[in-house]
Amino acid sequence: MDSIIIQERLVERLLSPRTQAQRSHPGKLKDHEKQYVGFATLPNQVHRKSVKKGFDFTLMVAGESGLGKSTLVNSLFLTDLYKDRKLLNAEERINQTVEIIKHTVDIEEKGVKLKLTIVDTPGFGDAVNNTECWKPITDYIDQQFEQYFRDESGLNRKNIQDNRVHCCLYFISPFGHGLRPVDVEFMKALHEKVNIVPLIAKADCLIPSEIRKLKERIREEIDKFGIKVYQFPECDSDEDEEFKQQDRELKESAPFAVIGSNTVVEAKGQRVRGRLYPWGIVEVENQAHCDFVKLRNMLIRTHMHDLKDVTCDVHYENYRAQCIQQMTSKLTQDNRIESPIPILPLPTPDTETEKLIKMKDEEVSTICACASWMLELESRESLQGCPIEVVLRLPLLCPPVGSWGGGQG
């Protein structure tokens, strides 16, 4: 009896989130090795497989030009993605439309590989007339969802490439008094398609009291306009106080006021990433100077996976549901059935539909009969059953007509 309790406690400890990180004491297991099943090592196995497979992450950056987006991305991932970029002058930008440019880079750290894709949106908000300048961006995000949807529904699903955008860093100008109309419209167009993390750019032009006021202002306006920015998940109740405190500070600092730098300067005898001004040196990684460290930790060290999860479980699922509904309503429309709410199943089908239903029901029962007959044959003569599969699949592609759920045989 005792050994079972010990076993259970052991498994609990091994599976709880905190101890996973500390699991490097194989010695402790030795005593009980012979008495436990061993599936407590599953997390280890998952870990090993994930590391082998590598991770991928797609990050979008958006905001007017000149807000330091490229510099910040370079600072976040310690790379130089924009070496060969050519900046346009104002005249060239008059007729520029918003472009979508992808940069992919493979980076590795301690044996863990990350395929990082940065989606850039040059031209956003730069023109004199910026009406609907976010459309190319929403279209791009939808396209990635659509691509994934198709791949997921396809026959060969071995190597689906996930190009969905996991997070969008939106840069708010520090030179305004809060959100501008274009900021509000952009975020509202995208908040149900992607995780939006708003940032205050070039925060070194603001003194601490100005930053506080601006953050408050932006938070108020986000509430006021009903913008759904990415919410940090609640931390588990069994986390320790320090972790909870950090989590609270993180949430209270949003939107993060950031500074980026491509250069290393000497400050107090140390070489740090920073900006050298005549009146002092701004250190990017100094938490008293800006929220860069908070952003980096959140984005990369603690919440990257959650961002991916929310993209898959919420945004993508929303898209998929909408897509299917649209397909359904289109099909009902094609059958020339008038309904005020085409996306809901028809409550009282008219005669034409009834006929259709009857027809389909007959079809299905025929197929069922065929299927059971073929299965019998198969069991007698071990047929290679491909033809049966094909026949059985057809009903799935027809419009849903009442319940013919028994049709699988």
């Binding site: 346009l88 002058n89 104002a90 004199v128 305004g176 601490p208 001004y277």
Partner: protein
């Protein structure tokens, strides 16, 4: 007047320039106010005095400029306002019983605030300056310059100057109005090296090296507004107030106003616009 998107520190700068609260700072639109849907023109007049010399200063603000999603033609209300002042002056001038000192509400100088992106001018900046450099003296100013390091500032200024040149935008002091060689040399230097002035404004004072200075206190140091190593505010102030104030008025009167007048007379078939009765325009000094 001052133009540029909201939040570029225009009001703070003007207050710093004239060392008094001549501009109402919008420390943010409070909950009831919104960014105005069209560009508004708000003129506030003050009388300031220094060394026995009185100056009537009118500061004209243009809230709403460049803040919308669609900013097409947002300079039109501003151009209209400027021309209206010329028109007022013209009507008074051609009046039969005209006043000895015609009340002058014409705009002598327009400070255009460029956003310190570090890249180049924005399409809106170009459009505005193209249209308005023909009717008023424009002095481009790089706002909130404390966001750029020295190198970035130098590069940005060079790029802006080049873009203005390539687009044929003549900012004040315009080359064609240099009166003599002395003017030309002095102004050339300003045009080719100092402008656009990269400024920082502040209405708060701090103690630095035993002196009280206007500045901005950041966690990494105090930015001194009047320190030429930090920003060019002092250059702008000296330029606009101490050396070229009178010239700004003269160029407005002799060139811009005359251009407007000539065009109006031409349109009217060489005749001055008729004013049968004197309009009660006495409100306009403030």
């Amino acid at each position: 007047p001052k133009k540029g998107q909201s939040g570029l520190g225009k009001s703070t700068l003007v207050n710093t320039l004239f060392k008094s609260q001549v501009s109402r700072k919008s420390s943010g639109w409070n909950r009831e106010e919104k960014i105005p849907k069209t560009v508004e023109i708000k003129a506030i007049g003050h009388v300031i005095e220094e060394g026995g010399v009185k100056m009537k200063l009118t500061v004209i603000d243009t809230p709403g400029f460049g803040d919308q999603i669609n900013n097409e033609n947002c300079w039109e209300p501003i151009e209209k306002y400027i021309n209206e002042q010329y028109e007022k002056f013209l009507k008074e001038e051609v009046n039969i019983a005209r006043k000895k000192r015609i009340p002058d509400t014409r705009v002598h100088c327009c400070l255009y605030f460029i956003s310190p992106t570090g890249h180049s001018l924005r399409p809106l900046d170009l459009e505005f300056m193209k249209h308005l450099s023909k009717v008023v003296n424009i002095i481009p100013v790089i706002a909130k310059a404390d966001t750029m390091t020295l190198e970035e500032k130098t590069e940005f200024k060079q790029r802006v100057r080049k873009e203005l040149e390539v687009n044929g935008i003549e900012f004040y002091p315009q080359k064609e109005f240099d009166e003599d060689l002395e003017d030309k040399t002095e102004n050339d230097k300003i045009r080719q090296e100092s402008m656009p002035f990269a400024v920082v404004g502040s209405d708060k004072e701090y103690q630095v090296n035993g002196k009280r200075v206007l500045g901005r206190k950041t966690p990494w140091g105090i930015i001194e507004v009047e320190n030429l190593n930090h920003c060019e505010f002092a250059l702008l102030r000296d330029f606009v107030i101490r050396t070229h104030l009178q010239d700004l008025k003269e160029v407005t009167h002799n060139i811009h106003y005359e251009t407007y007048r000539a065009k109006r007379l031409n349109d009217n078939g060489g005749l001055p616009p008729m004013t049968v009765e004197t309009e009660e325009n006495h409100e306009s000094n403030l």
